[in-house]
Amino acid sequence: MHGEYKTPGGKLVVVDLEVYTGRLARVQVSGDFFLEPEEALDRINAALEGLPATSDEAEIAQAVRQVTAHAEMIGFSPEAIAVAVKRALSS
């Protein structure tokens, strides 16, 4: 499943994922955003992995926020990732 969201005036976030037994699996966030340090992407993917597929945007954003407190996200946000995840889930 595939979802995309472009933050107005910012960057594109792409999410590819699958759903196994009601939970997000094989989650891959990508896009033309800027992120420091680069390892933060693995933490974001891991934070999304296993979330209930019924999670709402606020819950998804919160899961991302918990692992990005010390990362710099430029042109996107936990909320933008949440929108892309929801779009993937409804694709």
Binding site: E4, G9, V14, S30, E36
Partner: protein, 257 residues
């Protein structure tokens, strides 16, 4: 504490054509060399040795390129260490440069501010060529006719790497066959066609590509001083190793498939 451009003895590297992977590797090596203080702050003008699509650190290969057309036209995919978007590279159509500076030059600045600062000399150079260009946050140089260039930055090992690809000319019809540019990406640009988004320097200046580059170098030299330098053998050796062990490997290029 923040420094300024005049605090440094800037060096210029302008080599002949190199392979795309070696360019990726040189950017990593030279960033760390400047960060470690083994190399003075440097501006590097690139010459491309091959057709390439350069994707950002966080982009998915399959989302950005059309594999069939990529092969048909003889492009290779390389992945750089900075974020940002895909660049469509035809050697004679592209002007690419890197600036490697100590992080103190952008200390305390927002990313938006540091992008604009690192290209302020380029906007000045374009002005002398009669092009009214400005910074379009976060990372584009644009003019009334459209986008001229895209920049990307990353901060590593005490240094900031700022690299930029400018469109000298562009085969837009080919670009849209090789790159996938989705509708979502254009959603807030008010543009329906990827061709319309780029306004190349050739049509705006009527100058040969080398003359545009010369003017950029002159402008930097006038503003801050710039001394001609050469790559050190150990820098080239380190970059060759990194090109072989990292940048040419599938594990890196397809780190996000």
């Amino acid at each position: 504490m923040r420094t300024n451009w005049h605090d440094y003895d800037w060096q210029l590297l302008r080599n002949g054509p190199l392979s795309p992977n070696l360019h990726m590797a040189l950017d990593e090596v030279l960033t760390y060399e400047v960060g470690a203080g083994r190399r003075k702050p440097t501006v590097r003008i690139w010459e491309w040795g091959a057709l390439a699509v350069v994707i950002g650190r966080y982009q998915s290969v399959k989302n950005e390129v059309d594999p069939e057309n990529l092969g048909r036209y003889g492009f290779e995919v390389v992945r750089r260490i900075s974020g940002g978007g895909a660049m469509f590279i035809e050697p004679g159509n592209t002007i690419t440069y890197s600036v490697y500076a100590p992080q103190e030059l952008v200390a305390g600045m927002s990313f938006q501010e540091s992008y604009a600062l690192m290209d302020s000399w380029v906007l000045e150079a374009l002005k002398t060529l009669g092009i009214k260009a400005w910074y379009q946050p976060i990372n584009d140089i644009t003019s009334e006719g459209g986008k001229i260039a895209g920049a990307a930055q990353t901060r590593r090992g005490g240094a900031v790497l700022h690299h930029v690809t400018m469109a000298y000319d562009i085969d837009a019809a080919k670009m849209v066959q090789v790159l996938r540019i989705g509708r979502e990406k254009l959603s807030d640009k008010g543009q329906t066609s990827a061709q319309k988004r780029v306004d190349p320097l050739r049509s705006q200046t009527g100058l040969p590509r080398a003359a545009v580059i010369d003017r950029m170098i002159e402008t930097f030299d006038d503003l801050y001083g710039l001394n001609r330098d050469e790559l050190k053998p150990e820098e080239l050796e380190a970059a060759r190793n990194l090109a072989e062990t990292k940048f040419s490997r599938k594990e890196w290029i397809y780190i996000i498939p």
